[in-house]
Subunit: 427 residues, 2 copies
Amino acid sequence: MPITANDTSRKSWLEVLTDSDFPIQNIPFGVFLTKENIVTVGSRIGDFAIDLGALQQLNYFEGIELTDDMFMQDTLNDFISDGQKTWRLVRNRIAEIFDATNPELRDNAEHRDIVIFRMEDVEMQLPVLIGDYTDFYSSREHATNVGKMFRDPENALLPNWLHIPVGYHGRSSSIIPSGIPVHRPMGQTLPNGETMPVFGASRLVDFELETAFITTDCNIMGENIPISEVEDYIFGMVLLNDWSARDIQKWEYVPLGPFLAKNFATSISPWIITMDALEPFKTKGPKQEPTPFPYLQQKGKHSFDINLEVAIAPENAEPTVVSRTNFKYMYWTMSQQLAHHTSNGCRVNSGDMMGSGTISGPTPDSYGSMLEITWGGKNPIKLSDGTERKFINDGDTVIIKGHSQNGQVRIGFGECSSKLLPPFVRQ
Amino acid sequence: MPITANDTSRKSWLEVLTDSDFPIQNIPFGVFLTKENIVTVGSRIGDFAIDLGALQQLNYFEGIELTDDMFMQDTLNDFISDGQKTWRLVRNRIAEIFDATNPELRDNAEHRDIVIFRMEDVEMQLPVLIGDYTDFYSSREHATNVGKMFRDPENALLPNWLHIPVGYHGRSSSIIPSGIPVHRPMGQTLPNGETMPVFGASRLVDFELETAFITTDCNIMGENIPISEVEDYIFGMVLLNDWSARDIQKWEYVPLGPFLAKNFATSISPWIITMDALEPFKTKGPKQEPTPFPYLQQKGKHSFDINLEVAIAPENAEPTVVSRTNFKYMYWTMSQQLAHHTSNGCRVNSGDMMGSGTISGPTPDSYGSMLEITWGGKNPIKLSDGTERKFINDGDTVIIKGHSQNGQVRIGFGECSSKLLPPFVRQ
């Protein structure tokens, strides 16, 4: 049995503050760089980073079949490729090592010094080498809001939307971990009422509040995965900010979809929260009407109750929360997204990432983008420092957080934070 | 000076038939598997594959700064990452080793046995690990044809098309080398006149005749590459068949672009023809009106005179050429595509691939897809075995070829060939 938030009584001998996202029930996976310039696969409890490469070298994973350098790597791809059975063995073993009642590492000062780092002493990296990145569009509220603003308010949802978990390919090379700043992009836009475009800095830079899931190797090319099996191929989830330049997007996206409006940057939170840790937070999503095609049909609970919020912190000012929403509002589930993705035989590999699409709830204070919150800039919002925002200003930091709560146990994602810099100018 | 087709008098001591795509002036790069299950980086002259890993081990590249295992790899990414100066040194050295007048390898039977393979004894692999794949849409004729059929015949070209080299992100995981067959994909389609979609095998599977270029590491994220410098970052070109399921595409592509209609398979020719080999075939493309933005402006010749053709070979029948066209018809050049791609700071890495988009000429017999050749199936074409085609049938092999010709010297791509299999059915 994988360890979950239902195991409420378990405590670690490492200090965990009560509002921490990372109690011993979480055990996420990530990659970090130490001050000695060593990159390793790691986990986290409280505000401590755990060097899994060191744990392996010190034989703490004896009895679990792993390649010798499984954790002494700069990505999780090989580990993820080993499949669900291995993930569970390793995660449970980590929980055992750090259990308050287990003296093996707790009472070995020499080993503790090698294995445990304070979070402020490490630098988080991208957790996986992302082969392919797909972004879905699975919030009915978001698709409806966008349709109302840009197309037909009377027929906001396009005819295919209730049949297809609509998605498109994103750019892997521009995915960066939380903490890396982003330049406001240059690009072509068409000023209102004009017929000739202009080239310059985007004026409408926006965030999109999303989550994403990371897959293991799924299929042989040409073969689909039945929906009854897809969940076994999802390793875990991260928070994602799908940075968007609305004015570039509006001019470029017909007929082949968003391109430069999106691929200047995509930020993700660095710790992958496993599906096992999130299992107790499974819940039903919205009713699906019309009934999906058989290849998308599933019974039971396949959505997740995950509280999400976005805050904007202006330069030298406190953050203001501008949206609070929940993953459970999503119309299409991750299982349906993955089943759809392979329904034509498209190959899905270890380390591929699939974004949820903007997660909007039913009310403006739960919308997942400034485009929707300010309704295209018509209704600016006030931040706690007294300034107003229609979109994101240079110097603003956008901070996405997420967590699930089960009585006393909180399983969180940490944060996905990124500052918007002025446009790059060649010297 | 890199060796090119202008060096007409150079001959190799390896046999090269007169209509070969691979004289000593070509020297392409690829990756192949030998019968001993060894994977190596290689080149080709005539019908012989050259093991560059073996040449390096035998010290034939002494004096050129290379990492020890540069060619004993299963991809060209590291070599491409080394940059233009290294590519030229290695390519010229290969031409020198195989020059008819050079005895060093010619007269060393033991070395020849290790280094040289007959093409029929090796199996070509994907030449690069493709990090990100972008597909452009740069043929004015193609964009106009598609616009006429699917949108407005009077305003076939969308307003952004003459300003932007329109492109979108494709799927890297489904790119396969020539010779690997492809299953007809399953998917959702909307039958004509209906409002409810159906799920089943695509009925309108098509090819798209394209080329693609492979890049080296271009930029720091957030920074653009000036158009005056972009050509230094293009390693070479391949032929590409952008397999497309037209009925799936029509139903899914609004508003985020093609997805499952394309990502079931993309076939490429396995030898990368270097830009140095293609240099003598530079030519001017069509006049660009209106004048592009400064970040897309370039003087001189930046298109290429490359003859292209597509043939369909039914099961157990001879191939029939169904289209003959030329790369020079493309409106937007590769330099403009790459400058546009980085104009917002999007990172481009070694081994990224960018497709041209369907290459259509001015007349139906030069169109680059069955969609255009048969005008959406309205005008079926006859193959030499007497059968008719609107789109591609199960059992058909689609064969794309391309070459440039300069007096007596022919620089060719070999072929990009792939057979369409019936849909995959789970047993």
